[in-house]
Symmetry: C2
């Protein structure tokens, strides 16, 4: 039987701990050369922190920088503080420039200063260039290390150029063709190069309708382009269409995961954070949650005022109180089904604002089906099982129909309107809509009750 | 200024419609050869359906199959029904085998039969092989078209082999080295090949610790491996470690998106669907929503029984009713913050079951901070602003502290326990926990009220 990845990881971790405890460093180095760098990074993070600098120095030279790039920022900072200037320089030389920038963004000022002092002139220039783009923009995701070809090269010359410079480039599988003023005019994939005659001219085999993003494009829509076009890399251009960098598919995957997590957090009334759960301090997690909890608590007291306003009516028929939670929950669930579906559709570019009438009409019909089904189930249960009396069962069932319809229509429309005016649909999606729907449900309930029961 | 992708798309759509209306088919074909195939597919889907077969025949031959692979299944089915056998065969010959299988999975039986009749023997064999793996497994995601090398080949021989067969392979950037019995022994990237001497032996330059998945591995954890290791392709092996296919990164991205959508839907009490929102019929959307709505409505009536049980107490102090929705909402929100965070952490492999004590202890401390803050804000508001009286304000604030702590601890623990016993954490995450937390909050509220107010 083949081992699963989890079993393999556990056995590797144990082997590393054993060799380390018995100080068999040569065997340890050999073991590491057989382990994927991402796994090595994970194993090292499981070891006691004070062992880390020692073990890192044992790693095979050619793996060290790649392992380093997989560490989380706390581990990176800890290591940099333990590094000599020479060691730091060696790691920096081997890191891809976008990984260096990702790391710098998380470091305290003193560490950043030290890195920039040690980095050679050219690297410092590239770092500063990428750092200057806004967070969450295509420019901040890109790397400046890519293969640049000229249109009058032959395929053979292109291969020579790739062989000469390729080792330091993040990808050689998509090569970009630029004019002397750095304007992007085409691209050639390594596949095309390999399948072409060696004396063919680049301009004859290149793809000349190149899809690119501008440096200021939002990272979410940039990542969506990878999803849509199945790219391995995407060129980033400035306002004059000059090629300034490329984004590779691995970074697009990170963004897709990050944006999905952000949407999920916002729908659950949490301010998005960029650290994994177990790495966040209790106090920081508290801070990401308490503003929304407080706001929603205060806005929920609004429902209390509505109940108080109908206190006299309730006094006469306390049994009505017993159904408030069920009505509010059901309407709330109906609303978030609609809002969450629409919000996700907006994120994936499946729904546009111009679809608003179509979406409302669709939700309206779904709501009628849902409302009637729920009302029927509820009426049968109340009348025959709970024996609450015909009129009360009718009031509650009618409230359900109206509340579900209102909840679904509001639920689908609010996120779309929010996006249109530049607000965040995910924030609208769940917490806010629940509060609005709760208040509405109560008013509908008490109105119908007053009319039908004469209280 | 550079056009944005949206503007470009709108102008292309308009140009296509104009040329089509004036029957300038030659110009239309030229225009299509300048448009990316994913965009062409999207443009064609915006056109009236009866024009589709005509326009599809206008497409440049080399683009047709790729455009076809980007269509949604309704459009594919419509086109296949309009195709002659010859046309269908031409498209099938050009499609990658995994795209063919994706398509077949969505087609009605009569269309599948026709496809399998037309497909050549070897293709039919591969299709049947992939179809036989369970949905959502690595085997069902893979393609059987990849570059296979032998360990005793030289780099030059490898290039000859790639040039001969590469045109039909989904990727040539990762080549797999197998023994004669098809056991996987190594991999070589195109980058390594390009940077090596042409007479080097494959076995000397290949990576021999190959990370692979088994055909039955779940698609979600398979996709997570792309995220972790930054792969462009991942080999799929059977139980004897024989290489049967590969998964490419574009399919991993689709899975990542799909799984995030599924989690979001489950958290919002929707049965996951695999069609985009606007393509689903009203009735099917209704069916994906109503079971959960009904179940949650019926379980919410449980809270009604609790209220009825305390009816006499409430009768004496109707004002207590007014705070029920606020208390239930706040506890519910606190619980889903914890459960949603933990569920997402489980999906991203950031949290394992063995972290349970750590997670509970963390949530407990967060809950104390949140509970006290909320209780304080609430007490001040009730006592000074709403002037409800000291004892009632105290009852409500104490209930908040207890309910928030219970909600967060249950909220974090339930999804982890669910995953451990093989249930879906995302289903636990929100709808279920809200119901449990609601009932608990009411009991706590009435107990504290009875004790402190003597009712």
């Amino acid at each position: 039987m083949v081992q699963t990845q989890d079993e393999l990881f556990e056995s590797q971790l144990e082997a590393v701990s054993d060799l380390l405890a018995s100080r068999r460093y040569l065997e340890l180095r050999e073991l590491f050369s057989d382990i994927n760098c991402a796994d090595t990074a994970q194993i090292l993070e499981e070891l006691p922190q004070e062992k880390l600098p020692l073990v890192f120095r044992i790693l095979p030279k050619e793996d060290a920088a790649e392992v380093f790039s997989y560490f989380d920022s706390d581990t990176q900072e800890h290591l940099i503080r333990a590094f000599s200037d020479q060691e730091l320089k060696e790691v920096l030389d081997e890191l891809y420039i976008d990984d260096t920038v990702d790391m710098i963004e998380e470091m305290p000022a003193s560490v950043v200063r030290r890195i920039l002092e040690i980095a050679p002139q050219e690297m410092r220039h590239s770092i500063n260039q990428i750092l200057h783009y806004p967070d969450d923009s295509a420019g901040s995701l890109m790397t400046t290390e890519f293969v640049r070809l000229k249109r009058d090269m032959t395929v053979e010359e292109a291969f020579v150029s790739i062989r000469r410079t390729g080792i330091d480039k993040e990808t050689i599988y998509t090569c970009y063709v630029t004019e002397n003023d750095r304007r992007l005019v085409g691209l050639v994939t390594a596949k095309t190069l390999l399948l072409s005659d060696s004396d063919a001219l680049i301009e004859d085999i290149m793809e000349d309708n190149v899809i690119s993003v501008s440096t200021h494009e939002d990272q979410e829509s940039t990542a969506q382009m990878f999803n849509k076009y199945d790219f391995l890399a995407l060129p980033v251009v400035d306002t004059e269409n000059r090629l300034v960098g490329i984004i590779t598919v691995d970074d697009a995957i990170d963004v897709i995961q990050e944006e999905a997590t952000e949407d999920i957090e916002k729908m659950a009334a949490i301010s998005p954070t960029d650290k994994p759960y177990l790495k966040m301090s209790v106090f920081k997690t508290f801070l990401s949650r308490i503003p929304w909890l407080t706001l929603l608590m205060l806005s929920a007291t609004f429902t209390g005022y509505i109940i108080t306003a109908y206190e006299q009516a309730l006094d006469k028929l306390v049994i009505l109180t017993a159904f408030i939670p069920m009505l509010m929950n059901t309407a709330g669930n109906s609303g978030s089904q609609a809002s969450v579906t629409v919000t996700r559709g907006l994120s994936l570019d499946e729904i546009e604002f111009r679809d608003l009438p179509r979406v409302i009409w669709k939700e309206f019909r779904i709501a009628i089906l849902c409302g009637i089904t729920l009302a029927l189930v509820n009426f049968l249960k109340l009348y025959f099982l709970d024996q609450v009396g015909f009129h009360i069962a009718l009031v509650i069932s009618l409230t359900l129909v109206v509340a579900v319809i209102a909840a679904k229509v509001i639920g689908c429309a609010l996120p779309m309107l929010a996006k249109k005016i530049g607000l965040d649909p995910a924030v609208m999606a769940s917490p806010f809509i629940t509060t609005i729907v709760d208040a509405l449900t109560l008013v509908v309930y008490f109105q119908i009750a007053s009319m039908m029961l004469g209280i």
